[in-house]
């Protein structure tokens, strides 16, 4: 068997994590001595990355397809009010740099590639969507009965302002800012506690009874005890969700500066550090699970 053939065999085993230690050592030897094997390795690695990118993209597109096929429902009054007060759409926008945004127009093509049938010919999606809707509505109804409606918000300490005016209660559906030098501590009745640092700007909305914090800038510590409805946070860099966890988040907005000193400027980013439980971050069309003790930085691609 030639070096090239043996190299191919070892590369395939290596990619599937099936190569033994001896085989990895043999592959290392071939990589270092035979440029042809090294070139084949690079080609295989590129193909692997391309396939991962393609199929994860497809997975996301299929999720979007499921959403598009779900029965349309009118926006809730709270969501409508959110759009009115903040001047922003009530539905979450895709994060900047989301890789599947420009590909939505290729949905039909993607469906063709994955063998999915168009909407009108696919009652299966409708059934799934209808079942999901019933499940969601049922969960919300049960939750509301158990809880007697939405959980009250409490400003435990710190100061908040809305459009420069100090408020005594936590506003919903309006952009507020943490005023003064101290952090603002906000508690929900169901075991969610937020500690937002000074100058943090955010909006608190509810979607289907679920609290949604839209953080524009700043940082904070978050403690979410296990509760029937998970907590969701939206930022320009991605969507952060957790069923239960203790974590902190920091948004660096980044400002343009002189190009002679780029390294002194912070990159626009979202940093998430998880102390307990786990947190999911949806960024650029990819969902990342962050567990206790881990830290992740997400950059904007715009």
């Amino acid at each position: 068997m030639s070096n090239s053939e043996r190299g191919q065999e070892l590369i395939q085993k290596y990619l599937e994590a099936l190569a033994s230690e001896a085989e990895i050592a043999e592959l290392e030897g071939l990589l270092a001595t035979d440029p042809e094997v090294a070139a084949a390795f690079a080609a295989a690695a590129r193909l692997e990355a391309g396939l991962l990118g393609y199929f994860r993209q497809q997975y996301k597109i299929d999720q979007v397809a499921a959403l598009l096929n779900a029965p349309e429902s009118p926006a809730t009054p709270a969501a409508g009010a959110a759009a009115e007060n903040t001047g922003e759409p009530a539905e979450p926008r895709l994060p900047p740099g989301s890789t599947f945004t420009p590909r939505l127009d290729r949905l039909a093509e993607a469906r063709r590639v994955t063998g999915r049938k168009p909407r009108s010919e696919s009652p299966r999606w409708k059934s799934i969507a209808a079942a999901a809707l019933v499940l969601i509505l049922g969960s919300v109804a049960v939750w509301s009965i158990k809880r007697g409606g939405e959980e009250p918000l409490r400003l435990v300490s710190g100061r908040l302002t809305v459009a420069g005016r100090e408020v005594t209660a936590v506003p919903e559906n309006a952009i507020f800012e943490v005023a003064g030098d101290d952090a603002a501590v906000i508690e929900f009745g169901n075991g969610i506690r937020l500690e937002l640092t000074a100058l943090t700007r955010a909006t608190l909305n509810r979607k289907s009874g679920r609290p949604v914090l839209v953080v524009k800038s700043g940082s904070g510590d978050f403690n979410v005890a296990r509760n029937p409805l998970d907590f969701r946070m939206e930022t320009a860099f991605g969507v952060v969700t957790t069923e239960a966890g203790r974590f902190s988040l920091n948004i660096v907005e980044g400002r343009p500066g002189p190009s002679s000193q780029p390294a002194s400027l912070p990159l626009p980013s979202l940093t998430v550090v998880v102390a307990e439980g786990s947190v999911s971050v949806e960024h650029g069309g990819i969902s990342t699970q962050i567990k206790a003790g881990q830290q992740r930085v997400f950059f904007s691609s715009t």
Binding site: L31, A38, A45, R56
Partner: protein, 172 residues
Amino acid sequence: MDAQEEYLKLLFGCELEIRAFIGSIVRGSHDRDDVFQEVALTLWKEFPRYDRSRSFAAWARGIAAMKLMQRWDKTKRLPIVLSPEAIQAVSSAFDRSEALASGKAEALEQCLDQLPEKSRQLLALRYERSLKIEQIALELQATLDAVYQSLSRLRARLLDCVNRRLSAGGAA
């Protein structure tokens, strides 16, 4: 264009290329993400020293290779699987074939489009659902070897198709 904008544009322009390099040496998706983030931060810190006459991807890969070599542990072999010598050889191979990488994603899409449904389903199990070969074999009620051979053949077929498309200039 300010430096940040330029940097981000260059970084995202070759993100797949850097991820392909890191992914071929590091095991585990979380560890790969960690390394990529570390590399992205280092690249930004070093950006004032980036020589614009050089390929950004090659420069980025050089820094990534250095990071990987520093983290390599001979006794553990995880998450960095390959030795520093092998990492260096792989990095050089990537450099030599960088020109071939452009247009590869489009060519790959076209090649995938031509595959029979069964083959696409097998690839989807492996790459979309991230199943291991044993799990795929269980799901398809096939032998481990049959799944392994099918995947190997599919990869070879795709590589051949992509190369043919790129050399014929048919990716566009």
